[in-house]
């Protein structure tokens, strides 16, 4: 009676432990972006790399969709993804891209854009990288897709490729 009960409890315990280990094996250890989707982006104020113009989250409300893209001239994967950004603004008129130049020198950024094309309707500077933390960025390239209520629809970690581009197309229909 009492013995049987404790045996069942112990066996149950052991089985659940082992099952959770087994399930844990199948889990993916990579970055968790689920939480951010549905939330609103932070309030911010950034300066342009070209002049003393400022941009805040209020400005983004005017766009139907905005892709906030973190990039730098010294970042190799950023060079690879850049053409997809250019494609994005050429093919879709309801989305604008805000470029945030991360830990970079303004001249290098300008050269980068002259060479590879400028898909950004505004390029903000983030020389010390602090702004990236406001957006919950891990590294570059990284992009956040928001709608005009500033709600996060998707967070893309790593360079945008054809597949991710098509997904963006689907999301901004």
């Amino acid at each position: 009676m009492k013995n049987k009960f404790s045996k069942i409890i112990i066996f149950g315990f052991v089985i659940s432990f082992l099952s959770i280990f087994w399930l844990g094996l199948k889990k993916d250890n990579s970055y968790n972006t689920k939480d951010l989707i549905g939330g609103k982006i932070t309030n911010f104020q950034l300066r342009s790399i070209y002049n003393s113009d400022l941009i805040t989250e209020e400005n983004l409300k005017k766009n139907q969709f905005t892709l906030i893209n973190f990039f730098a001239s010294w970042c190799a994967p950023c060079r690879l993804e850049h053409k997809y950004l250019v494609k994005l603004v050429n093919q879709k008129k309801n989305i604008k891209i805000l470029g945030i130049n991360f830990k970079d020198k303004k001249n290098n950024a300008k050269t980068f854009l002259n060479e590879l094309g400028d898909p950004y309707y505004f390029v903000a500077e983030d020389t010390d990288g602090k702004a990236s933390i406001l957006f919950g960025i891990y590294g570059i390239p990284e992009s956040i897709l928001i709608d005009k209520e500033l709600t996060v629809i998707k967070k893309i970690i790593g360079p945008i490729d054809q597949e991710k581009l098509e997904e963006i197309f689907r999301l901004i229909k």
């Binding site: 968790n32 010390d128 990288g129 602090k130 990236s132 933390i133 919950g136 891990y138 590294g139």
Partner: protein
């Protein structure tokens, strides 16, 4: 006699101590933050870019006069709970904090009953 010698030795040992205890809030905060792009290192230990950026942000906030909790809350709102090494006391983590003490109490009870039963056995 021996005790006296030991006490003297003790004081000699302590004259070697460099200086008083220092409270270093920044480093304590860095130690409590996980470097999210590293494999199991804190922001204090990591040499990564991400860690240095986080350090800048934390420094700024400390200068602004924010408390530790406010800084942690800020970073948790951006990156989720797992950026902080000290799990907070909420419904998710309740078991985590509660179970060890439960086991402590449980173990103590077992020992208590064993001793009581022994007294009982001895009495018989």
């Amino acid at each position: 006699m021996i005790l006296r010698k030991i006490i003297i030795l003790y004081f000699l040992l302590f004259t070697c101590l460099q200086s008083k205890e220092v409270k270093i809030d920044l480093i304590e905060i860095y130690k409590n933050l996980r470097c999210l792009v590293c494999q199991g290192q804190s922001v204090a230990d990591s040499n990564s870019d991400f860690a240095s950026t986080i350090k800048l942000v934390v420094e700024d906030q400390v200068k602004e006069g924010k408390t530790k909790e406010e800084i942690y809350d800020f970073l948790i709102s951006k990156y989720g709970e797992w950026i902080v090494y000290q799990p907070s006391l909420n419904k998710n983590n309740f078991l985590l904090w509660f179970l060890p003490y439960l086991i402590l109490v449980f173990g103590g009870l077992i020992i208590f009953f064993i001793i009581r039963k022994s007294k009982h056995n001895k009495a018989n």
